[in-house]
Symmetry: D2
């Protein structure tokens, strides 16, 4: 028999709410007045904290959401007649309703990748069109860290793929909607796998890690930073009452809460993966390195399980995606596993 | 001698924080999980409340900010080869860094207007290019209510300007970043000066009236509504954790808080206007019908006054803008008036 | 030993000049004055001739070049938030430097196809995202006839793929840069494989079939036609002295010259294909159904052959493309075959 | 009584045909084959001739039409978040159906000017928004030479307006659809009022001065030139059989035919202006410095005169525009003057 469904959902990490410390900071920011669009003390503080986090002076811009952060970041990297190399399963390619093509006025050069990672070979194979006027000119690569398949680039993997990009004169964007989960997974500093390996602009996610809204655009190359605020405004991604985003981000950075929460989410994914490992009808389809578990299920069990506790099917046949977050409890995982057992083997 | 500056600023209504009821609702929304992008109960409730407010079934969409709401709304109204008639001082024309032109890929047909209102004559004069392939084809008008100059269209004025637009087959957008101040000023239902007079799409402002973030796009013509959610997503204006915006808006609508707050802001502007009426060196340049006071000041006093309490200079020589909000206190107005007296006459 | 290279090139059909009848018509059009942008008698005549050709009233628009005709045609078919399904090897996808993405502000949904043809299955597999706001919504398909691989859709093939498109509510564009070669190949009326099977808009090529410049956009659905002239003008594809394009097209249509020339080009491709069929080191990689021959060559012979007579390498390893045109002479084919023999077997 | 109408029209210089030498060159270019997109000998020759014309190495690109040349040129000059300062009556602002806004994704900052010229004061007044993120950032100015009102900037006027632009870091575009008429009017070298005074990119018109089609984009700053061919291709402005445009341009440059023809057109405008000077009911409204005559006519005579020989009304009340070209004959002018006399005084 099926237990009551878990109290959190495995549908997406953006279905979770706001973590208590973050909400408290948002409320605390509501003191007095602040000149809008970033000219406030809380935003100034956050900028300083980001410099500390990355161990160098970086340019920090705050945008509304993930798609907005990505399209502003990408605009800062390429000329209008250049395209962006990414994987076919990347969020910018499949989950943003064509926003990148609309904002860039150009093509995403989307490449098939079994683990949602770009490789040096994939990138290099695109460079032979450089200089040929008929073809979209690759101008940047976009890597997602952790990826849309819940995998994580190692520092070495990033170094080699970025080296391939640099060999063609390409710029590098990292979609870090789940950068916290990657940092937690790799156990190194976020600088180690961003600015230190040649990332030019990072979309630093907040929403999927316990904020109500808000993403940061971290620009490592000061020459690129000049354009960003104009691109934000023109792209409708310059929040007016910015202090409420800054306060949330600062709460995440304080005492490494962003890592604590991401480590927890990753651990919950691992627990879930371990739990299904013993169910022969459930096959894990991707290495579980962050906060996602991809599995194939017996086809007849998918909709039954979804009706009990919602989640999404994915690209391959009978494949589904389960996401964990800061809010996922061990008891949720155990309950969910019970449900899977009951339905798959029932 | 100058008193201590007021505790709120007259620089902009978006410099104010979040009103207590709204913040409380945002916090209360943080319960359990919600599927993202609007498939949550709070958003469903808000949609129902908006239907009640407008006395008919409307399509309610929630966007991040004012520029975002405007560019999505305008995209829903025109073909890519059409332009939008607006005034030269309209927010879409001067304060959005070209976002409308970028999202629309077309021209704003911006017309000079002394009181920031479109008139039937202004609109009609643009219609003779209809059908001439060389010229941008007017496809819609955009009226701001209350206007960027703090004036308010009467219902009659809207009827006549919209009739002129309809005569040319044009659609009608209302930029209602301060629609609450207009409703408070007119003393009629918001439906009376929107759907009842032929507005097709309304940008319904939340941020400037005490929300942390969030604007609604109210679509009155169901045929237009189909495209809006796609336009939102493609324009990076589809919030993921939408419940936090919905909760804030519902708090505003509850017990007419949105009107109570707007009435207060308008009253504070009137108090300020009354207070400067007796200062001969200060000339009020626009009728004070909402929450803005435009005045000319002796040039040498402007920067002195700004250094004491910040505000912006405006378009005409020696003209400045003072805005009030829900957070402006009578004591702030009185203190500010003291400062004006002291500096202008000092 | 190598003979002298052929007098025409097999590099591309756009390397050929203007056929004598077409040039004569262009010269003859230079009589007196004509109001620009299509309000001239020659353009009026061409419109009438196109109606005759298609056996119904069609809307004929004249654009500068093939990319221009395609981007105007596609804009007339989709909403800004919709995408266009095409093959990965389609001209719009690989040979237009991102022009479609720029003009449409949206995505090409480019699918792998071994023979450069869309199939019902390829189209149908894309329709499950309809209604899901996160994904680009397929709004049209674009088929190329004859294809970029020199293959030709049968009428039956077009019917089935268009039926699949219609099942999802999608519109249909045909890139007919080489529509004449397809008509010559199929031996039926051009109407039979365009308007009769549900094509909405056809890019009707002139340049590759003996014109100096100029392509027609044939719109079969009168409702779609209204927007086209505005889209042309806004897309910088409305020629001023249009009579010179109209005169060239009329010359092509007179006495079926367009088909006579295309039949000749196709026959020359067949002759070339027959000639290499006996060379064991040369493998034909695509059915030769129009005016292109795709072969693989021994790698070491490719650059030697190109140095003698230019042509382009293609997508697969050691694959090259040879194009014929109205200007290709039998003697050119025989000379070229001698060169291939000499270098490949030499 | 009215005479038979003139054999040429005063409606527009683009209503004229192709001058004999140019047509002959187009025909002569039809020899053998040429690799497309500019890799041909005739284009190479033209590039060399342009270097000679400007007395320095310039980058010459060939586009289809005037709007196309302008939008490519402007794209090469500004960032996507920048706008272009121009006059309200400029061709890019009123006669291109929003093409500049569409290709640039940004705003034209269009300023009122009684003689269609930008002035230093007009430009300087726009520079105070530089650095303010809410406002479109001026990135370039566009001057038209000769202007849309038939006036001509003196070298001195260009120097001062360009100095004002440079003071704000702005780039400079010249729309030279009628650059020949300006050169003929000023009596100096074309270099003297383009590269020598700081123009960065020139749209060099061919069509209005006796070509069938084709405009050149002359880029004076080598750093800007890199992007142009990609922008052309992506903007659907890269002609395939380019040799036919190159041949026409070379014919124009040979023996200064372009100037000979422009001088003739200017002289015909002067003859026309002199002829109407004595008709009291006809008022010349702009200095006649190139090939246009703007006059006001008694309102009742306008449509009568248009019915006899076509021309366009213009912006001011009862104002009309008469254009001359290389093809205008003295007898046409005399006949037209007879008609004006007869109808205006009749």
């Amino acid at each position: 028999m099926l237990p009551a469904p878990p109290k959190t959902t495995f549908a997406s990490d953006n279905a979770s709410g706001v973590s208590p410390e973050v909400l408290e900071a948002l409320v605390a920011a509501n003191e007095g007045y602040s000149i809008a669009y970033g000219a406030d003390g809380l935003t100034e503080e956050l900028r300083s904290e980001m410099n500390t986090l990355f161990g160098k002076e970086v340019s920090t811009f705050l945008a509304w959401g993930g798609t907005g952060a990505n399209v502003v970041a990408l605009q800062s990297l390429i000329q209008p007649w250049q395209g962006v190399i990414c994987t076919q399963s990347s969020h910018i390619n499949v989950d943003e309703c064509g926003a990148p093509e609309r904002f860039l006025g150009s093509k995403l050069i989307d490449l098939p990748s079994p683990d949602a990672k770009l490789t040096p070979d994939l990138v290099t194979a695109q460079l032979d069109v450089l200089g040929v006027v008929h073809h979209v000119q690759p101008g940047a690569i976009s890597v997602t860290q952790s990826t849309e398949y819940g995998t994580v680039y190692s520092v070495k993997e990033l170094q080699t793929v970025i080296a391939a990009a640099h060999a063609g004169g390409l710029r590098v964007h990292m979609d870090g909607a789940r950068v916290a989960n990657a940092a937690a997974s790799l156990g190194c500093s976020v600088a180690d796998f961003t600015c230190a390996v040649g990332v030019d602009v990072l979309s630093f996610g907040g929403t999927k890690n316990g904020m109500a809204y808000g993403e940061a655009i971290i620009v490592f190359d000061p020459e690129l930073a000049t354009a960003v605020e104009y691109l934000q405004k023109q792209s409708a991604q310059l929040p007016s009452k910015m202090r409420y985003i800054s306060a949330q981000f600062s709460a995440l950075l304080k005492n490494d809460l962003w890592l604590v929460q991401a480590r927890h989410a990753n651990a919950m994914a691992q627990l879930l993966a371990d739990g299904v490992a013993g169910i022969s009808k459930v096959q894990i389809t991707q290495p579980v390195q962050a906060n996602a578990v991809f599995v194939t299920l017996p086809p007849e069990s998918i909709s039954k399980l979804q009706a009990w506790s919602p989640f999404y099917t994915w690209e391959r046949e009978n494949e589904v995606r389960w996401m964990t977050s800061f809010a996922t409890q061990e008891s949720d995982v155990r309950t969910f596993l019970e449900g899977v057992h009951a339905i798959v083997n029932g």
